[in-house]
């Protein structure tokens, strides 16, 4: 991180979560022989990409002290819109991707204006855009599931961005991209105006306003970033899964938000780390993929994830309390 020392407490959280990831991996490997397979890694990776991307984006609204609930249904909506253009209008894949990304940016912009300019509570504003994107997605696809070009079809090149097949070996190439994006956004958060002011808004919005900062603009930007990354996630999702179904997507955002918070993004805003978010999401993905191997089914995964989340929020609260006591 160049010449900048990462604050000790953030470092701590990232390290702790990283140790948790290693511990979980170790645990599942020991507990289940079936887990120790290359295909498991591929599955974990497949599940992680879109959540990581959403989590990177949603970290920004979270750090402003807000939230973005529209990213889950948004993801499905952008994916359906792009897929519709490819399947029904014969658009090239690349052009459809651009439309998906623009779509995400626009929804982010709307969220940002509702929250930063009109002053709606983030929870409410993004809940509304969550419903709106769900509806729009269903309209785009005319209520049918849509498949982006599958391997072998023309225009399916984008799938190998995330999973490269060389001979018989599949390489989870997507991890490289999400890692690079995470590092980039970590940099944006800590070394650019957007990042600095995102933190300032979450830490003390009044002080930021009275420092003459254009708080409205930077508030909007946080949601635009969130929308843009939800759209990136939609591309990852389309590339990994065969078919995208309208009406789905609700609940994705919770995994992303959960991952960010486990990774050290403060639930009340003002602090966070994107590298932490990346690692935090892998805790969730590991639980999701690993628990079935030791015989715990979907319902249990949810409970375990919920408990882990409570734990990490408690850590955040205790940390805050200690600081305010100083």
């Amino acid at each position: 991180m160049g010449n900048r020392k990462i604050p000790a407490k953030l470092l701590k959280q990232e390290v702790i979560v990283f140790i948790v990831v290693i511990a979980l991996l170790g645990f599942f490997c020991v507990a289940s022989p079936d887990f120790r397979k290359y295909t498991t890694i591929l599955t974990i990776m497949d599940y992680s990409y879109y959540i990581v991307l959403m989590a990177i984006g949603v970290s920004f609204p979270l750090i402003t002290g807000g939230v973005d609930l529209s990213i889950g249904t948004g993801l499905v909506c952008y994916s359906l819109a792009g897929g519709y253009l490819i399947v029904h209008k014969g658009w090239p894949t690349g052009a459809a991707m651009v439309v998906s990304l623009l779509f995400g940016i626009i929804i982010g912009l709307i969220n940002g204006i509702l929250i930063g300019v009109m002053g709606l509570p983030p929870f409410l504003a993004t809940l509304c855009t969550c419903m709106i994107t769900r509806g729009l997605g269903s309209i785009c696809s005319n209520n049918f599931g849509i498949s982006w070009p599958t391997t072998g079809q023309p225009g399916s090149w984008f799938r190998s961005i995330f999973k490269l097949t060389i001979g018989d070996t599949k390489i989870p190439l997507g991890f490289v991209w999400v890692l690079l994006l995470a590092i980039l956004m970590h940099f944006v958060l800590n070394h650019t105006k957007i990042g600095r002011y995102t933190i300032a808004i979450g830490s003390n919005k009044e002080a930021a306003i009275l420092s003459g900062i254009n708080v409205k603009f930077y508030h909007i930007m946080a949601y635009v970033i969130s929308g843009f990354f939800a759209a990136l996630a939609s591309i990852a999702y389309s590339a990994v899964f065969a078919t995208v179904l309208p009406g789905t997507g609700a609940g994705f955002e919770l995994e992303a938000i959960g991952g960010a918070i486990i990774g050290g993004v403060s639930a009340t805003g003002g602090a966070g780390s994107i590298i932490g978010t990346l690692i935090g999401v892998f805790v969730i993905c590991l639980l999701k993929t690993g628990l079935p191997f030791i015989g715990l089914q979907a319902n249990w995964q949810q409970i375990v994830t919920g408990v882990v989340l409570i734990g990490s929020v408690m850590v955040d609260i205790i940390k805050k309390r200690k600081e305010s006591r100083k």
Binding site: K193, S203, I209, S211, G212, I213, E323
Partner: protein, 498 residues
């Protein structure tokens, strides 16, 4: 006037670093309105909080109806018949008038709340008070004045014997004040004992029987209102204390260039037609009592609150300021009275806070140049002698005085030539205060122009070259330091300008 119902004798109370009440005595009789007066921080509110059990006293005694008592909390005081009508109203807006009056002790019919009985009882109370309010009306639909009457009704419904009014007229209109006085006179006739805390000299003359004055946590004296003049009371309030090294002469010549000119500024009730000029290198003190509208004026100038009308000229050029962003661009910096809320980001480092208003000049391409940022922060730490191990220190770990220096650094970093200091030394200990004063003098000598809002008379007299006095949202006067006395300021600060 009847016999003494409540007596507070030699009440002593210390907070860490402050002797808030120093052997204060106070009494109130049945059928009397007894005013409690003093500057901000004189100890009036503390005394009343000790009385109603919100604070515990260190020593002294309270005698109520002939018996020594000690209340533990407002509830106990209330049950005994000592109630306080707070300046801020404690009402639940969505409930009805009657529901609010009997909140926490609702009449029941079985397990059901008996709204009908509550309405009847509320109506009886209003009849007793001679006021006309519908008990079934929703609280938030009432005017502030009416809400306050409900608060009074609630107080009386506790079978009150002593009622304390804490600046009751602060939020009321003229006609509402008239109504309030009518009620207070009625209560007096019913042999209620009333303590009346207010800053408004003219009200004191109209409504009270006796006046007790406090200063710096001490009891100064008690006067019979009828036999005393406004000047007597003011003299008691400011006292004869010699303040340390007051400024005797302005350092700024009368023809120094005007850097900021405000004309006919209006912004709500608290800023009415305020005009003044600030000259280069000058420290312009803004004096007045709490709620005089000084902070509101500053915030309106700075664009933090909307203005209704008025013009602002910076260096002779008409300047439109609609947001703090505009103000900062025009070279104005505002140091809020509430540093933690408005001034600094406590969980960030000194370096990050220093460049907060001027980050644009610390960029390398799209990235923040942290080396340069730290370098400038270090320069300000040195020149302002901020005590800190490094510029990477989180601001939350600094003392109040050093936090204030970080805020000053923020504005100096932005190169602001006009600085508005709002209560610059609030919450700062004595040693650090002197440093802040020295720093302000140094800044002024270097050609910065300073507006200093202060509720401390010492501070105003020590720092200001010129003094603007405000009262109830209006500018009531302007004094050059050469012709200033505490009495003159206090006179202007309590002046009724209708």
């Amino acid at each position: 006037m009847g016999e003494v119902i409540l007596q507070m004798i030699d009440i002593d109370k210390r907070f860490p670093g402050v002797h808030a009440l120093n052997k204060v005595s106070f009494d109130v009789k049945r059928g009397e309105v007894h005013a409690l007066m003093g500057e901000n921080g004189a100890g009036k509110s503390t005394l009343m909080k000790v009385l109603t059990g919100i604070y515990t006293k260190d020593s002294g005694s309270i005698v109520f109806e002939g018996k020594e008592v000690e209340f533990h909390g407002a509830r106990e005081a209330q049950d005994a018949g000592v109630v306080i009508v707070h300046q801020e109203l404690n009402m639940v807006g969505h409930l009805t008038v009657a529901q609010n009056i009997f909140i926490g002790r609702e009449f029941k019919k079985g397990i059901r709340i008996d709204d009908k009985k509550m309405n009847e009882e509320a109506a009886k109370l209003f009849e007793k008070l001679n006021i006309n309010i519908d008990p079934t009306a929703t609280m938030s639909d009432l005017t502030v004045g009416k809400q306050q009457m409900c608060e009074i009704a609630k107080a009386i419904s506790h079978d009150a014997k002593v009622i304390i009014f804490d600046e009751p007229t602060a939020a009321l209109t003229e006609s509402e004040i008239e109504d309030l006085f009518k009620i207070i006179r009625d209560l007096r006739k019913q042999q209620m004992a009333i303590v009346y805390i207010s800053h408004r000299m003219d009200e004191i003359k109209v409504i009270t029987d006796r006046v007790t004055v406090m200063r710096d946590g001490c009891y100064v004296g008690t006067l019979v209102t009828e036999e005393s003049t406004k000047d007597d009371i003011i003299n008691m309030m400011v006292g004869r204390i010699i303040y340390e090294e007051p400024k005797t002469k302005s350092r700024v010549s009368e023809d120094a260039p005007v850097v900021l000119k405000v004309e006919h500024l209006n912004a709500g009730r608290m800023v009415q037609d305020v005009s003044f000029e600030l000259r280069k290198g000058e420290i312009l003190g803004f004096s007045g009592l709490m709620g005089a509208g000084r902070t509101e004026t500053a915030r309106a100038i700075f664009g933090a609150d909307p203005k209704e009308s008025g013009e602002i000229f910076v260096n002779g050029k008409k300047t439109v300021i609609n947001s703090p962003e505009d103000a900062v661009k025009a070279g104005i910096g505002y140091l809020s009275e509430d540093r933690k809320r408005f001034g600094i980001v406590v969980q960030k480092t000194i370096a990050e806070n220093t460049t907060m208003a001027d980050l644009g000049n610390y960029m390398k391409g799209i990235f923040i140049d942290k080396k340069k940022e730290k370098k400038v922060a270090k320069e300000f730490v040195d020149s302002l002698s901020t005590k800190t191990p490094s510029v990477d220190q989180l601001v939350v770990n600094l003392s109040g005085g050093n936090q204030q220096k970080v805020v000053i650094a923020k504005w100096l970093c932005k190169n602001c030539d006009i600085l508005i200091f709002d209560e610059p030394t609030r919450g700062i200990d004595v040693g650090a205060k002197n440093e802040i004063y020295k720093l302000m003098n140094k800044l002024a000598a270097e050609g910065k122009s300073i507006i200093m809002i202060s509720s401390e008379m010492t501070e105003i007299l020590r720092m200001s070259d010129r003094i603007v006095v405000m009262c109830e949202g209006k500018k009531t006067g302007e004094l050059r330091i050469e012709d200033t006395t505490q009495e003159k300021i206090m006179n202007l600060a309590t002046r009724d300008i209708n």
